[in-house]
């Protein structure tokens, strides 16, 4: 069963084999959870929203017409549910400008002396976990799910160039920090 494609599993579930849906859950739960955790910054919320996403996916499986990949369709549910959770918690959904502000804040924060002695990989993990929701979603889909920018733009319902801008900004933030930290180390 685990070797079946998403399409084969969905067809089986649609025929009434509800138990087969667990294969899809196992296939996507970790990646979707990682993305949600980075967007919501909270394990509990991430798990709660993820559960809701799988229930929504199951309920709407009959409307899935195989026009796109299941992963793209499912990540759209995940992304939109995360945004709903963020807005329902009255947290500000970042727009393009505030994303840049948040990135500047992260850059200045992690260039501070407090983080000089930290290992790069630990630091990068911390920074990634603090990225604004949209940046976190793009980075997760691009690096973890290995989705193309075209697929990501379908999930986020924005243009490919906007996806690239978000991805490059996130990467540039890390580059700046790595570059400047190396300079610090050289000076020390």
């Amino acid at each position: 069963m685990k070797n079946l494609t998403d399409v084969e599993i969905i067809e089986s579930v649609k025929k009434g084999n509800q138990a087969d849906f667990s294969v899809l859950i196992d296939r996507y739960k970790n990646k979707a959870f990682t993305m949600l955790k980075r967007m919501l910054k909270n394990d509990f919320d991430a798990e709660e929203v993820l559960m809701d996403c799988f229930l929504k996916a199951y309920n709407n499986l009959s409307t899935f017409k195989f026009e796109s990949k299941f992963s793209t369709w499912f990540y759209r549910i995940v992304y939109n549910s995360a945004l709903t959770k963020l807005s329902s918690a009255k947290r500000k959904i970042e727009n393009e400008m505030s994303s840049v502000d948040d990135l500047h804040y992260l850059e200045s924060k992690y260039l501070a002396d407090d983080f000089i002695k930290e290992d790069n990989s630990v630091l990068i993990k911390k920074i990634v976990n603090e990225l604004p929701p949209k940046n976190a979603a793009v980075v997760s889909m691009f690096y973890l799910e290995e989705m193309s920018t075209e697929e990501i733009c379908e999930v986020l319902q924005i243009s490919v160039s906007n996806v690239k801008v978000i991805l490059h900004r996130s990467r540039n933030l890390l580059r700046e920090i790595i570059e400047k930290r190396n300079l610090f180390q050289e000076v020390i």
Binding site: M51, L55, L144
Partner: protein
């Protein structure tokens, strides 16, 4: 060499440049220490992002979701049975009323010899139903039926509210 901006380096990293642009960036990296440092830092950021591991929800997550789905199926089935029983009850009431009306129509017609026997047998039953729907009892019967419908409606509403709550948690 100064026109090698971050955007171009990112595109070089993602393999999105044409051959001329690629050559330009490659030569810049080889000849300028500043561009080389920027590119190496970008490559390191890219590799670190690539190496970040995925995280997992609780161990029994799949089981929890499947339990919710199963519970939902059971609730949906119960709702179906409940609706069926309400509809059956209403059907019986409608059938009773139709039967009574039909009886009234038949008994008002001139009895023929062939139907005389049937009429005699059904007359007693007719009298009983007439009594039941008579001026005195019709109010009581109406009240009882309305009460049953109100109770059914309340339970139906409560059931739906309860199942909606189950879906959302």
């Amino acid at each position: 060499m100064n026109n090698i901006d971050d955007e171009l380096l990112n595109k070089y990293l993602d393999g999105e440049l044409n051959q001329d642009e690629k050559d330009l960036v490659r030569i810049s990296i080889e000849s300028s220490l500043e561009v080389k440092k920027r590119y190496e830092a970008l490559l390191k950021a890219h590799n670190l992002l690539n190496s970040i591991e995925e995280e997992s929800p609780s161990i029994d997550f799949t089981k929890l979701v499947m339990n919710k789905l199963n519970k939902r199926s059971v609730i949906a089935q119960q709702q179906k049975y409940f609706l069926l029983s309400i509809l059956s009850l209403l059907g019986l009431v409608i059938l009773g009323i139709t039967g009574y009306v039909l009886f009234q129509v038949i008994s008002s017609m001139q009895p023929t010899q062939s139907s005389e026997m049937v009429t005699t047998y059904t007359k007693d039953l007719g009298d009983y139903i007439s009594n039941l729907f008579g001026q005195k009892n019709i109010t009581i019967l109406g009240s009882v039926l309305s009460f049953i419908m109100l109770i059914s409606g309340y339970f139906l509403y409560d059931y739906q509210k309860h199942s909606k709550k189950n879906f959302s948690h």
